[in-house]
């Protein structure tokens, strides 16, 4: 199933991010997915060598999850593959029955664990969306015909509503919509006002947007994100909230509460929620319960 079908039905679409392991032991990921996510989110994003750290592939992990009865979203970045490999992997996804894509430019190589690697960036997020659109129309990006019935995907992308240069981000968002993007997931939001302001401007594009959430695990993590992670800013009062009761922060309860509150505050402006739990998948059901979002039927 394509998740665009859910948006079309007016569903509040819930997704969560999972990262393939560094190695091939995937049992833990599958177990968590069944236990905490299967009945709570519609689909699972599978990251593509996230933060430029080499891991097992996104496509293979998507296939494993699909065989487990879960709905995967294949994340593809332009960092490691040129247009030949990218299009080839998109066709491979179709062959394996994977119909949901999230198309990204990707972090730069030097941010990860192979800083010596050659950065590719032959295409970027916008031209990658265009390439997928071409394949859906029966041609590759070079204009050569592709045999048989063309594949069809739900084509998604990301945007940063709390970026310090949100106008530049909106211009890029518009370019993505024009290229054929059908849904957006946002970078982690900690400032509901900025998200709502952004959505007021973004609604003209007529494309559903899922509110992106990162569970704030502790003060150090928030400070790190404020200094280093683009498009993410944890406000001071939220940091104070995490400082107030050290025990409850350590147990994760404060982070869970913050996420639930963000969902409640932004819900009316978003068409869904995308949770990046960074290993805290087990807390997702609680966040959704607290936000008043029932399990999926």
């Amino acid at each position: 199933m394509r998740i665009t079908e859910l948006f079309e039905k007016g569903e509040f679409v819930l997704t969560a991010e999972v990262g393939p392991p560094k190695g091939v032991e995937i049992d833990h990921l599958i177990k968590d997915a069944h236990e905490f996510l299967k009945t709570r989110v519609h689909a699972l994003n599978v990251t593509d060598n996230q933060s430029s750290v080499m891991r097992t592939g996104s496509l293979a992990t998507c296939k494993v999850l699909k065989d487990e009865g879960l709905l995967p979203i294949f994340q593809i970045t332009c960092r490691d593959r040129n247009r030949i490999a990218l299009q080839s992997d998109v066709l491979s996804a179709a062959l394996l029955g994977i119909e949901n894509l999230l198309l990204l430019t990707g972090d730069y190589t030097t941010l990860g664990d192979h800083p010596q690697a050659k950065p590719v960036f032959d295409l970027d997020s916008v031209s990658l969306i265009h390439a997928v659109k071409c394949l859906e129309n029966g041609y590759d990006i070079a204009g050569n015909a592709v045999d048989g019935t063309p594949p069809k995907f739900a084509k998604g992308a990301v945007v940063s509503p709390c970026s310090d240069s949100v106008d530049v981000q909106l211009a890029k968002m518009e370019a993505k919509v024009k290229a054929g993007c059908e849904y957006f997931q946002t970078q982690g939001v900690f400032e509901p006002d900025k998200f709502m302001e952004f959505m007021e401007k973004a609604k003209q594009f007529g494309v559903p947007v899922q509110l992106g959430l990162i569970i704030p695990k502790n003060v150090g993590m928030c400070r790190y994100m404020n200094a280093n992670v683009a498009g993410v800013h944890v406000p001071d009062d939220m940091i104070k909230e995490l400082q107030a009761d050290k025990e409850r922060t350590k147990s994760g309860d404060v982070g869970v509460e913050i996420c639930a509150r963000l969902i409640k505050e932004c819900k009316d402006y978003a068409q869904g929620v995308h949770i990046m739990s960074l290993g805290w998948e087990n807390r997702i059901p609680e966040i959704l319960d607290m936000a008043g979002i029932a399990p999926i039927a």
Binding site: R83, L104, T105, D107, Y108, T110, L111, P119, F121, D122, L123, D124, S125, V126, S127, I129, H130, I141, V158, V159, S160, S163, D164, S165, D167, V168, Q169, A171, K172, E174, A175, K178, A179, Q187, N228, V229, A230, G231
Partner: protein, 205 residues
């Protein structure tokens, strides 16, 4: 060695609006410049458009030298709407950098020829991509000013206007966007078919 090749006559004619000053750069041994074709085309332009001055000089990639050479033409330049530059990508960027409020357009595409390349110490750079983008980007080179050489806009990595790859470097796309904003040319970022680079031509022999 670099070669510059004229953009098509139609493209250049479209760029040539209002009062026009033309700057040719002939100085450099590292760059092949199609003098004869440029001459012919500029004659045609002078016949059909309002060309107020044609300046032929050298080493415009060096901003001090450039401003010295242009000194006696400043009245014409100040009165011009458009500056058309016939040079390599570095020269065009230097001119665009000096005249922030003018429309500075590139009339050439710069290619790389295999072999030894001259070393010139400059603060803007040209990646010799073979399909110069400067006319759409406010005279700032997306190939060299953006760490990922992106051509369709900013990635998600810029923080406080700085690049995700090098925190001491301003994000190239932030600069391009602000420049276009200032020029009232943000529409340059709106086009129907995304740009895709042609790596086949940039290394052509």
């Amino acid at each position: 060695m670099l070669i510059t090749q004229l953009k098509s006559k139609e493209t250049i004619e479209e760029l040539a609006q209002g009062k026009i000053v033309i700057i040719n750069c002939h100085g450099c041994k590292e760059v092949y410049f199609p003098e004869h074709q440029a001459d012919e085309l500029q004659k045609e332009l002078s016949a059909s458009k309002e060309v107020t001055q044609i300046i032929t000089t050298d080493y415009i990639c060096n901003s001090e030298n450039l401003m010295l050479q242009l000194k006696k033409h400043m009245d014409k330049i100040n009165a011009a709407d458009t500056i058309l530059v016939f040079s390599c990508g570095v020269g065009i960027q230097t001119v665009a950098g000096q005249f922030q409020d003018k429309k500075v357009y590139s009339c050439c595409d710069t290619y790389q020829l295999p072999g030894f390349q001259g070393v010139t110490a400059l603060n803007v750079d040209c990646g010799q991509c073979g399909e110069c983008y400067l006319n759409g980007t406010g005279g700032i080179c997306p190939i060299t000013a953006c760490s990922k050489s992106l051509i369709n806009g900013q990635c998600g990595g810029a923080k406080n206007g700085m690049c995700e790859v090098d925190k001491d470097m301003e994000c190239g796309w932030e600069r391009i966007y602000r420049k276009l904003e200032k020029m009232n040319k943000l529409d340059n970022m709106k086009y129907d078919v995304p740009k895709v680079r042609n790596f086949g031509i940039s290394k052509e022999k």
